[in-house]
Amino acid sequence: MRPRFFLAEAVRSIRSNMALALAATVTVLIAIFVLGAFIPSFLYVQSAVDRQKEKIDVSVYISDSAEVDQVNALQAQISGLEEQGVVREFTYVSKDDALAAMRERLDDPTILEELPSNPFPASFEVKLTDPENADEVIVAVEEQPALDPDEGIGFAGDTADRLLSVAQFIQWSGLALILILTVAAVLLIGNTIRLSIFARRREVEVMKLVGATNWFIRWPFVIEGIICGLVGALLSVGLLLAVKLAVVDRLVDDASSQLTEEQTTSIGFVTLAVILLAAGAALGALGSGLTLRRFLRV
């Protein structure tokens, strides 16, 4: 009987305070919408950064005059690093391969025809398990005699560092933003519900005088908060779905060559919707439950 009674009380209170319930719902709607738009964007950027990080690799150039033994020694060295888990994989690129690759990258490959000989050194292209491991690889192969004295080791250090710091910045600022948004949402909802309770504090006072326990008074308010939170979250999920279908999906289709190629992953919409609904309900329940405490001290 009790749950039904409390639910009925919550519905009654929403009906008799329609304007405030609406205000609370819209607040949740906005907060959840921003959260719902931000979470997938954040995850998308994160995943894109991760993809870029994977691409940072080290080129170990081999001197044209290197002996086969020396090249083998260098290869063994890198193999050792691979076994240690520092290097994910590495491939040998011969002088001809390097020339062919360059030819492909140039708009006008005819320039290469004018070269007297192939100037591109052979190399080991080393992919790292983690970009932070670059130094370890560089130190390990630095002293190898097979190393090309002019080219040495090719590593986009600056680019990598910058990418890493950007990635970290995105990570931290993203988390901070989510935190701020959540706190703002709780405060907004709390404030709206405080208004609603303030409007009814006389009623709460009467309930206490009749001998209602705090939870007897609190439950309907908490349920009311959950209802407002769920409805707000549901509306914002609908809105997000509309935005996704109308804007994001079309954008992905248009730019499929660039975006899908990256194989960036974000969060599934259903998962997102479930998270947002739960967040909405929790926001509503917390907002009203916490706010009510002050008014129960009659």
């Binding site: 009790r2 009467v206 206490k208 005088l209 009749v210 001998g211 209602a212 326990t213 705090n214």
Partner: protein
């Protein structure tokens, strides 16, 4: 001095309500513990005991000073005195809206000083309260207002559907159950408030200026209702300014002035002053002066 014992008929009726209550409890399947919590059982002791109670707000505002008195089960007591004399604090102490700064206070055998905060709702269910401003839930109908006092105690919907109409007919509002408080006259609203206060069959009913906002004729109706409730064995404490009403009723009168007990006169129930401590006239003129 021996007339404190309630008349035979009152005792009889109290026994009746007791058995009715037991029947109701078993019907609802309420735990015995809960039903006991919802009733005051002073045993043979008095319903209310003030033992040298002082209530002070802040550092210098003394509302009640060194008050000692006791009220027996089944008594009807008028609490009189000018505004600011401590009547409201007296009542707030009884329902533990405020706690004594000093001294002991027992209601229905319960030591309010040792009562935990979480038990206060149970105390209030056991005490019916009627206020000058009715304190009705304005967004609920008359029926729902009375029902709320039962819902609070966890009564089943079926017993609520049975009891509320009984109570509404007792206060003469059978036809107005679906009205909202705003649509009723002051006297009618006060009747709703009384119905709500009495629907849990409390052993103690407190009325704070119940006729304060009503015209004399309506006041008499309310007074009669409270008297009838008292006749069922319920202790009634009524704070009032209404001299005429008090004189007419010839009940025990406790008078406060500046937080101090000025007069505690017990009058016989059938119109004979038992013993005039100060005479009624003197007290009256003292009241007029203030």
């Amino acid at each position: 001095m021996s007339t404190d014992a309630p008349p035979e008929s009152t005792t009889q009726r109290r026994a009746d309500t007791g058995s009715a209550r037991r029947a109701r409890d078993s019907q609802n399947g309420q735990s015995k513990r809960e039903s006991r919590q919802n009733q005051l059982r002073p045993g043979d002791g008095p319903m209310v005991v003030f033992d040298d109670v002082t209530k002070q707000y802040g550092s210098d505002a003394v509302a009640i000073r060194d008050l000692s008195l006791s009220i027996e089960s089944g008594e009807f007591v008028f609490l009189v005195g000018p505004s600011g004399s401590g009547k409201s604090t007296f009542i707030k102490l009884l329902i533990k809206e405020v706690s004594p700064s000093k001294g002991g206070l027992w209601v229905g055998g319960r030591d309010l000083n040792r009562m935990r905060r979480s038990k206060v709702p149970y105390l209030r269910r056991a005490i019916g309260c009627v206020f000058q401003d009715y304190k009705l839930l304005t967004s609920r109908t008359v029926f729902e207002n009375v029902a709320y006092a039962l819902q609070v105690t966890g009564e089943s919907p079926s017993s609520i559907r049975r009891k509320v109409p009984e109570m509404l007919s007792l206060v003469g509002l059978s036809e107005k159950g679906s009205r909202y408080p705003g649509e009723l006259s002051g006297g009618e609203q006060q009747r709703v408030s009384i119905a709500r206060a009495f629907v849990n069959q409390p052993r103690l009913l407190i009325a704070d200026e119940p006729t304060g906002n009503l015209d004399p004729e309506t006041s008499i109706g309310i007074m009669q209702l409270l008297y009838r409730i008292n006749r069922t064995g319920t202790t009634v404490i009524m704070a009032t300014h209404d001299r005429e009403l008090v004189d007419k009723m010839q009940m025990r009168v406790i008078e406060l002035g500046d937080g101090v007990l000025v007069r505690d006169a017990r009058n016989a129930r059938y119109g004979r002053p038992q013993r005039a401590v100060p005479t009624g006239d003197e007290a009256g003129s003292a009241e007029d002066a203030s």
